[in-house]
């Protein structure tokens, strides 16, 4: 199941008693039953509890004796303000630490300017209150700390070169209060990009820098943001290049999908224990063993950003993406020292969790940081017979500290019916949730067993579910391929998954790209993940003729979705592909010059530059319509996508065409062939 990510009106309850079931500790929710006015029956464990006296009074309507009208029982998503029983220690302040790679490679790539610029712009918008703290560490073959004590005339750099036994040079003033030392921080950010321009250091001591960062953050907890541009080559946690470039198109075993060392995993577990999350920004142009580095974020509830072939001047699309991502990253809401527990009705049990966190107990997840761009998936299994229940409920409770230092509990409750016929089960299937859960399971299987196993399992999932449907729920003959209405796109999505970077074989895929796609599968929310798997294709050169809707005084055209096949692309048209985090606009060779002039601002096809990333504001109806369509698409998601205009000779063209999943390639089936394959397997 998935929830809409924008909860517009979140009821916040500040009462002194939080009503919970006495045996299973479930929070009271809209799906409990009240037995007379004084007792309620838990919907998860069926125990009868008493309604406390304070609960009988409803503060909103000022009436007494109607506990079922209270906001906790009227809304399935509520937020409680937690009392001190829910705190192991006073709520922590927001603490942000930035660990920056300043080796020669990093300076060449030029990311430091973008990061410092972004920080300067967003320093006031970092979530937090007056206690917010910030610190910086830079590293190449040694680790550099910055003393930002209020009262100094300029920031002071302290270098520690003993990386085998890293220590903190001063006990405090490395993590300083943001408001008190703001001037010093701004000076440092202005000076940082220029401080290392002539560096000759090529090594990167990431491991020791992380150990130092952990030491610095242990007392409070918070967030560490690591920027890395190459393979760590010095000190603890050093990694070797494991990728064999000749194996990129291998159809057989894909190796090295798992970590090479458990240094980063252990570090992540230590950080998780001290309520610190580690976020990784990997900006490298060569193999950097993301499979090992990703562990630092996966188990500490961090997030991973990857910019392959990053270079500030040669690759402006990636530079722009970094800028946009940083803006969102620095200003989005954040929660600290969180734990999440998922409870379900008696008879069901939770089997496996997918996402970036540490599983502390059978249903308790430890999340050092919570952010709104993370998604989680859960597998549950039916342990007992549910024949005499008609409803099952799931409740997720997240206990966290908001950035303003308030301890809160957000509770979501979901209620689902129990049906007794297979046809009803199929009718209620949510194909997108099914595909995303299968993607998560396939990632786990690829790492623990092998990629070909995972691919076979994905195909078997389609075959088994459609075979079961055909044999039990429908009476038609066996020679045709039948799918229920809810699952009619299931084979298409699975084919898209098999052609995704994470799981494809036979097409040259860099190992880091593949591992990053796998990390995304496990940590993205559903809406984003579906766009990644199956992008949306629209024709945009005839937008004036399309039907429109009115949104906030803007006229937004609604072109129909096209099938992802080159058959739909014509040389006379221009097409927009929405892949979630990136938009591709493909212009056909014979596209009308009016479109090119009005929308792109160039007189003809040949003059359109190779690396166009923005649409100019031209005073023409088609330009206005195109821009309003694109901004409508952009507004509907939190992460702002980058735009790339592709002509026929652009190197990004391969990316665009790889997303046309219904077509046949040398290594994979077309959609029609895939359906035939499934039919053969079912009717075998």
């Amino acid at each position: 199941f998935y929830y809409s990510s924008c909860v517009i009106q979140l009821p916040v309850i500040t009462s002194s008693t939080i009503v919970r079931c006495r045996s299973c500790r479930t929070y009271i929710n809209p799906f409990v039953s009240f037995i007379d006015q004084r007792r309620w029956k838990c919907n998860l464990c069926y125990r009868v509890n008493d309604v406390p006296e304070e609960f009988m009074y409803n503060p909103l309507t000022r009436s007494y004796g109607e506990p079922h009208k209270r906001p906790e029982v009227q809304n399935s998503t509520v937020e409680f303000i937690a009392s001190s029983d829910y705190m192991l220690r006073p709520p922590q302040p927001a603490v942000y630490l930035f660990v920056l790679d300043v080796s020669h490679n990093a300076v060449e790539a030029g990311y430091l300017t973008i990061v410092c610029q972004s920080l300067l712009e967003n320093l006031d918008k970092l979530p937090g209150d007056s206690r917010t703290r910030i610190g910086f560490i830079t590293f190449d073959s040694t680790v550099q700390f910055y003393n930002l004590q209020e009262g100094l005339s300029q920031p002071q750099m302290l270098i520690v070169s003993d990386i085998d036994d890293i220590f903190l040079p001063t006990p405090d003033s490395l993590l300083v209060n943001l408001h008190e030392s703001k001037e010093l921080i701004k000076d440092l950010l202005n000076a940082l990009p220029n401080m290392f321009t002539n560096t000759r250091e090529t090594h990167s001591a990431l491991g020791p820098a992380l150990q130092a960062a952990f030491k610095l953050m242990s007392p409070t907890g918070g967030r560490i943001s690591v920027f890395q541009t190459q393979l760590p080559s010095l000190g603890a946690g050093l990694l070797h290049s494991r990728e064999d470039p000749n194996q990129r198109s291998s159809t057989k075993v894909v190796q090295h999908l798992g970590p090479a060392t458990d240094f980063y995993k252990k570090l992540a577990l230590d950080c998780s224990g001290q309520q610190t999350a580690v976020d990784l920004f990997l900006l490298s142009s060569q193999y950097s063993d993301l499979a090992s580095l990703a562990c630092m974020s996966k188990y500490s509830a961090g997030c991973i950003y990857y910019y392959p072939s990053f270079h500030r001047s040669h690759n402006p699309a990636q530079a722009e993406k970094l800028q946009k991502d940083l803006k969102r990253y620095l200003t989005r809401k954040i929660g600290f020292e969180a734990v999440m527990r998922i409870r379900c009705t008696k008879g069901l049990s939770i089997h496996t969790f997918h996402g970036n966190f540490f599983v502390r107990s059978t249903d308790l997840l430890s999340l050092a940081n919570v952010n709104p761009d993370a998604g989680f998936a859960v597998q549950m299994s039916i342990e007992e017979s549910l024949t005499d229940t008609s409803l099952v409920c799931f409740q997720t409770a997240l206990l966290y500290t908001s950035s303003k230092g308030e301890r809160r509990i957000r509770v979501h409750t979901l209620c689902l019916p129990v049906v007794s016929s297979l046809a009803d089960v199929y009718a209620g299937a949510d194909v997108q949730a099914v595909v995303c859960l299968l993607a998560n399971m396939a990632v786990d299987r690829s790492v623990s067993s092998s990629l070909s196993d995972a691919r076979d399992a994905l195909v078997n999932a389609v075959v088994d579910s459609l075979a079961a449907y055909m044999s039990t729920a429908s009476n038609l003959q066996q020679s045709m391929l039948i799918a229920p209405n809810s699952l009619k796109l299931f084979p298409l999505y699975i084919l898209a998954l098999l052609k995704q970077k994470a799981f494809r074989t036979g097409t040259s895929t860099r190992l880091d790209d593949r591992v990053y796609a796998m990390c995304q599968m496990k940590s993205q929310p559903l809406v984003h993940l579906m766009k990644m798997i199956h992008p949306n294709l629209y024709r945009i050169d005839k937008l004036i003729d399309e039907s429109t809707i009115h949104v906030n005084d803007r006229v937004v055209p609604q072109p129909p979705l096209q099938k992802l096949s080159a058959e739909k692309l014509t040389r006379e048209g221009a097409f927009l592909m929405d892949c979630g985090s990136i938009f591709y606009i493909w212009i056909g060779k014979n596209c009308s010059n009016n479109f090119i002039k009005d929308v792109l601002g160039y007189p003809n096809y040949a003059s359109v530059p190779q690396k166009m990333t923005q649409l100019p504001e031209v005073d023409a109806l088609s330009s206005e319509r195109t821009r309003s369509f694109i901004s409508w698409l952009r507004d509907s998601r939190p992460l702002s996508p980058v735009l790339q205009v592709i002509k026929d000779e652009n190197p990004a063209k391969t990316d665009f065409f790889q997303h046309l999943i219904e077509d046949r390639t040398e290594a994979a089936f077309s959609y029609y062939e895939f359906l035939l394959n499934i039919q053969q397997q079912i009717c075998k």
Binding site: R22, S23, C24, R25, D85, Y86, M87, L88, G258, P259, A260, T261, D262, F263, K265, K266, L269, G273, Y299, V339, R341, S349, I350, H351, T352, F353, F358, V359, R360, S361, T362, D363, L364, S366, S381, A397, L399, I409
Partner: protein, 178 residues
């Protein structure tokens, strides 16, 4: 017809065959003691995993909180201690396989071979880690891995109990028939 008066051969000094008897008896005795230790390890293993698993059945307690309490962290640590017991268990078992090899007790050796092979396979296919050990704290909570470890614990306990009685019988047999 045997003529009377032919003297029977006098029993000679204890030859090499007789030495093997007492060495085999000694092996069985040592194996008996060490199997007691192995049974203890198997029981510890079962208790550690059972506690990890039943954590979610939260009994009516006075603490009233949702936080992971300090005990739960200790339980994961107990699993880490359990994995420190894994290597001694495998080494002890390998040690008496070697002993039985020296004592030429082929039947006993044959019965222990499958377990030795299983131990070697289990150790070879453990997750990547820098120290010795079998269990990864990040994946141990997956229901299928947890169930597998529990089953393994019970099977091993049954096997060690049976071997305990077998060695007891073997020791008595070897002592009596010498």
């Amino acid at each position: 017809m045997i003529a009377p008066g032919i003297p029977r051969a006098a029993p000679g000094p204890p030859g090499p065959a007789a030495m093997a008897f007492t060495f085999a008896a000694f092996c069985y005795m040592l194996a008996l003691l060490l199997t007691a230790a192995l049974i203890f390890f198997a029981i510890w293993h079962i208790i550690a995993f059972d506690e990890l698993k039943t954590d979610y059945k939260n009994p009516i307690d006075q603490c009233n909180t949702l936080n992971p309490t300090v005990e739960k962290v200790k339980k994961i640590k107990r699993v880490k201690i359990a994995l420190k017991l894994v290597l001694p268990e495998y080494l002890i078992h390998a040690f008496f396989c070697v002993m039985f090899l020296c004592a030429a007790e082929w039947l006993t050796l044959g019965l222990n071979m499958p377990l030795l092979a299983y131990h070697i396979w289990r150790y070879m296919s453990r997750p990547v880690m820098s120290g010795p050990g079998l269990y990864d704290p990040t994946t141990i909570m997956n229901a299928d891995i947890l169930a597998y470890c529990q089953k393994e614990g019970w099977c091993k306990l049954a096997f060690y109990l049976l071997s305990f009685f077998y060695y007891l019988y073997g020791m008595i047999y070897v002592l009596v028939s010498s």
